[in-house]
Symmetry: C2
Subunit: 202 residues, 2 copies
């Protein structure tokens, strides 16, 4: 059985959201599964790389304000939230996700999709653990238990370890897909991921 | 006659080099021509955006050291120079290019290819005007005249104006292709450029 595709993402990343809607089909076309890894751009970009938040970077922010809606249109998606501030802090979402992954690994993909859809399609405020209670969780997951877990020390530790592991592998942006040790950063590299899978590298 | 593709690039950008080898064919497939614009990452990235040089950015630098040779392999190119420092300052190349473009616009593409090949394939040091004398210039261009022009105030002014115009259009990275006013940043977006041309937007 070939190794899973390692999919690193931040829930507040729109490009991570776009990629999340394609990664399962890519894996399936090549006989792979997906392992999902929550990461935090606030740690990699701001602390480790020492850069500014993307949307606040001159010139690039303006480009992203055009590029993100353009991609959404192309994919037939309607973004339920503005890109202009008012976003949720990703800690509760990411902690909840890593807790679910740890306890019910078979549901990690479904859980990630649930959070991503609630955040980007429905535009919900998911900044606190309690906000996670009423998401449209797949069968087998309980919103109240997830909300409680998202506030737990256990979930905080699981996320801290996941973020450290992600950075130790050199991951800095969302999405990043690692294929048999080979990293591909960016939504616009999913075509390269497919080519790498098909050709076994180059 | 539809408008030319606006191709913005820095000679020291390997992704600009990769894209430079594809942009003519892309334009041709869609009945377009290419207008070439030298820009300076040292102005857009360092001064306007306030970021660090890419190769010196933690995590991202390591990724680029893997991604750039990977792309070269895939394209069947051998890079004649290291990515680890020792690069040439792009001023002489960019000034020479803008001077040629101004005086012999029909040769702008051929001139850009000449400089890019000398820098990235042959690995020449092109940090001073005199170094441009012996490049393999296309017919109609004289190396000695170009070297002299690259040291002139006229060329400095032409480049200064080009860089300012590029930034005024929101260009910050190399390569950037602007199609009928729509900007696409990054070598990995050439597929989007083709789709936009084919579909007339989305």
């Amino acid at each position: 059985m070939p190794a899973p595709l390692q999919f690193h993402f931040d829930f507040i990343s729109p490009y991570g959201y776009f990629a999340s809607r394609r990664i399962d089909a890519i894996a399936q076309r090549h006989g792979r599964t997906v392992e999902w890894h929550a990461m935090l751009l606030g740690v990699s970009v701001l602390k480790v790389m020492g850069l500014k938040p993307l949307m606040q970077t001159p010139l690039k922010g303006d480009y992203l304000r055009r590029d993100i809606p353009r991609h959404a249109r192309r994919m037939g998606l309607t973004l339920g939230r503005s890109l202009e501030g008012g976003g949720s802090h990703p800690l509760a979402m990411a902690r909840a996700f890593q807790w679910i992954k740890h306890h019910q690994p078979a549901l990690q993909g479904a859980a990630a999709h649930t959070i991503y859809e609630a955040y980007w399609a429905e535009g919900r405020d998911l900044s606190g653990p309690a906000s996670l209670t009423t998401l449209n969780w797949p069968e087998g997951l309980d919103g109240a238990a997830i909300a409680a877990a998202a506030a737990s020390e256990e979930a905080a530790t699981l996320l801290r370890e996941a973020v450290a592991a992600s950075i130790a592998q050199g991951v800095f942006g969302s999405p990043t897909v690692i294929v048999d040790g080979e990293p591909f950063w960016g939504f616009d590299r999913l075509g390269d991921v497919e080519a790498w899978l098909a050709e076994g590298g180059w």
